[in-house]
């Protein structure tokens, strides 16, 4: 099996010979080539350099699946401001729809700006240069996008004071997601991955999580399946406890093919719900174990996940995306632990 086949097979619960690894390496590749962040996100998005960084990291680490470009929030199309520190990670500096009337001045298809064209070109280059690798399309989730557009605090206030506005902006965000997915194109990836830190029952409460996140996830999943792609959902928050079992079950019932749990979840609690229903993704905490090491702890924590999930429909990831600054040696240690486990 090629890495691509291995990854897709596990996502679709068809089994495979070894544990696939997906790092959701949004900007970590920049470190391998010593590329300044603002060199990729310059006046024009440098798709060649982006693809070069993605592939250089894969060449160093050997993971099965990659994200097809060096990522950012790409909300400039709606008037958002993203800062690109030379040796840092892109971050949002302003919410474009802090004044809600601005939403009416835009169409979701505005997302297809020069930046997204550049990012799509990077996906194309990666696909072409490495046809045996799985390419995962990273898309911000419905509430995540709404929070970025509106400002997360304002959005949360909206859910209490102006729920119609909160719903409208989440609907707008869902259309932005669809437009982005269609534009990058199913031919340039193997799986759509919904990155959704703010689609989070700890932030929204279970009721609003169902209303704002799951309603739209059902819609997005149908849309992605229409493009004949599988979809992985990665909300943050707690899902592994018994009083959240219904919430996890409802998330799976949206039709998703894979569920990735975030940090502070017990893998066994997640597995109880996902087993035979969808694949499961997750793993070592990116901000504690993987960032700080030491090697012994990384190996220990990786094995904790593998002992519970290694024989299941499981793809090893980290708890969150990987970005520049993270010691690459630590990630290598994690991948070596996976290889050792599979050899046993």
């Amino acid at each position: 099996m090629t890495p691509r086949e291995n990854f897709v097979s596990r996502i679709l619960m068809r089994g495979s010979e070894r544990t696939p690894v997906f790092l959701r390496d949004l900007t970590l590749g920049l470190d391998v080539n010593n590329t300044p962040t603002d060199a990729v996100f310059g006046k024009e998005y440098d798709s060649r350099e982006s693809a070069r960084c993605v592939l250089a990291l894969q060449n160093t680490l050997g993971q099965d699946a990659v994200v097809g470009c060096i990522h950012t929030y790409s909300l400039e199309a709606f008037g958002g401001i993203t800062k690109y520190p030379s040796d840092g990670i892109p971050y949002l500096s302003g919410a474009p729809f802090d004044d809600i009337t601005k939403m009416n001045e835009h169409d979701p298809d505005d997302i297809r700006d020069r930046l997204l064209i550049g990012m799509r070109d990077s996906y194309r280059i990666v696909r072409k240069k490495a046809p045996d690798l799985a390419v995962v399309m990273n898309i911000s989730g419905p509430v995540n996008t709404a929070g970025n557009l509106r400002g997360i605090e304002t959005f949360l206030m909206d859910t209490m004071i102006n729920p119609d506005i909160a719903y409208a902006i989440t609907e707008f965000s869902t259309r932005v997601m669809k437009s982005t997915i269609e534009f990058i194109g199913p031919e340039n990836c193997d799986t759509v991955y919904i990155a959704a830190a703010s689609d989070n029952p700890d932030m929204l409460g279970p009721k609003d999580f169902r209303r704002y996140s799951l309603t739209h996830m059902r819609d997005i999943t149908r849309f992605v399946h229409g493009l004949e792609l599988p979809l992985v959902f990665h909300p943050h928050g707690t899902f592994s406890t018994s009083d959240r079992a219904d919430l996890l079950a409802d998330s799976i019932e949206t039709g998703i093919d894979g569920f990735q749990f975030a940090e502070n979840n017990e893998p066994l609690g997640i597995l109880k719900q996902t087993k035979d229903k969808c694949s499961i993704l997750g793993g070592v905490d990116a901000f504690t174990t993987l960032l700080m090491g030491p090697e012994k702890r990384i190996t220990r924590d990786t094995n904790i996940f593998l002992d519970v999930l290694g024989k299941e429909d499981y793809v090893l990831t980290c708890s969150c995306s990987l970005n520049r600054g993270l010691p690459i040696r630590n990630v290598k240690t994690m991948i070596e632990a996976v290889m050792d486990y599979d050899r046993r």
């Binding site: 703010s198 932030m203 504690t288 700080m292």
Partner: protein, 211 residues
């Protein structure tokens, strides 16, 4: 830069309404605040502490994965603009997440200019269930995580607790984190002395970084 010249960052964590800002206010009382900065997680707390130390900033709510990255920038920004010996800070976010992830990037990337003081978690004693903490329930699982990562647990609103009740609370905490220093604190109690010792000692803390 010598260890003495580095800025000490002390995290005061705890669920919403647990008394984090109040504890910071108490700590500011009676120290040289000319080189002290505070970062809180809402504007109301920022207003409450305004003028009580050299600089106060508020870091509004952030998603779990954005907060460790942006917290680092926030610390850098405060240090660039001010000569500070101490920064006391509430964690950004919803207060229900663990704080170790936001401290780690500081340790990793700012170790030449910053040392990490204790991670202090403030909690109302009533949040600790009488039957013990059940990790299979969401709220108690979060409480478990907060206790597990802390160097020091400050138990507030304990004025009417009997010694026996205090023992029970201590025992529940120790089951989760036997290394944590437990302080039963009211503003007028000598418990402040223990917290002060933790905050202002030269001890280097590592629990959030290694668990």
């Amino acid at each position: 830069m010598t260890e003495d010249e580095k800025t000490r960052v002390v995290m005061i964590a705890g669920l919403s309404g647990s008394g984090k800002t109040r504890l910071i206010r108490s700590l500011l009382d009676g120290i040289d605040t000319g080189r002290t900065g505070v970062i809180v997680n809402n504007e109301k707390s920022e207003r409450e502490l305004d003028g009580l130390c050299k600089v106060v900033d508020s870091f509004p709510i952030r998603t779990p994965c954005a907060r460790p990255r942006q917290y680092r920038y926030r610390i850098e920004k405060m240090l660039d603009a001010n000569d500070l010996g101490l920064i006391m800070t509430e964690p950004p976010g919803l207060c229900s997440e663990t704080s170790a992830p936001v401290l780690n990037p500081i340790v990793m990337f700012k170790k030449d200019s910053v040392t990490v003081g204790p991670l202090i978690t403030v909690m109302d004693y009533t949040t600790i269930p009488v039957k013990g903490i059940n990790k299979d329930l969401t709220d108690e699982f979060k409480l478990f995580n907060l206790i597990f990562e802390s160097d020091c647990i400050v138990v507030r609103k304990n004025e009417h607790l009997s010694e026996e009740q205090k023992k029970r609370v201590s025992s529940e905490i120790e089951k989760i984190n036997p290394d944590a220093c437990i302080v039963f604190h009211s503003d007028d109690e000598k418990g402040m002395e223990s917290i002060n010792k933790k905050v202002f000692s030269d001890e280097i803390y590592s629990r959030p970084l290694i668990y």
